[in-house]
Point group: C2
Chain length 119, copies 2
């Protein structure tokens, strides 16, 4: 039960697309992640997913439209909705999602992580 | 399914201690609130509560200790733990908690809100 400084947690890693867990509440995880480049299009069948931009900007490609997200903005991708994050430059993002959420959703790729690290 | 700009939502109200709902995911609400002054000490029997400082600073008085929270920091108050937020100056906070959470927890006061507004 300690306070979490988000910038400090972000300083602990440099890689992209590897979320780290920084908090848990009510069966949900709070995660930090750095994104750069284009991710795999995927969805999460039973889980809504929230992306909150801490630093930088990126876009979420959704069915039929694209949402541009900047610092201080968030977007909730409802369960079942295909999405593809794309970051031209590195972006720092806070994620909120159920503890059960797999990072690549319904798709298994070399980016799929079976187990996330707490930092 | 629109993006949310947190600063924009914060600009829509001036009162203190009245959370507004700005998002919902997995049975949890995302809320924005402005705090100023000292709140009632309370706990939530079955719900963990997350406080994320968007702007300003405040302190959370907990059993036997006090946590000072600044911009970019968050704290998760586990269910059942007594807490009392105190803000010397106005602070803008993002809250994450189950949709069922009552703002004053186990205590009913003139600040108790039976129903929160979506903005």
């Amino acid at each position: 039960m300690e306070k979490i400084n988000i910038a400090e947690k972000m300083s602990l890693f440099d890689d992209h697309w590897v979320p780290r867990i920084v908090g848990e509440l009510n069966g949900q995880f709070v995660k930090v992640v750095k994104l750069k480049g284009a991710y795999d299009r995927h969805h999460h069948a039973g889980e809504d997913e929230m992306f909150l931009v801490v630093k930088g900007r990126f876009r979420l490609e959704l069915p039929g439209r694209t949402v541009e997200l900047e610092e201080g903005e968030f977007f909730i991708v409802p369960r079942g909705i295909e999405h593809r994050p794309v970051a031209e430059e590195e972006v720092q993002v806070l994620l909120f999602e159920p503890a059960s959420t797999l990072n690549t959703g319904n798709v298994r790729t070399e980016r799929t992580l079976e187990r996330l690290e707490w930092i």
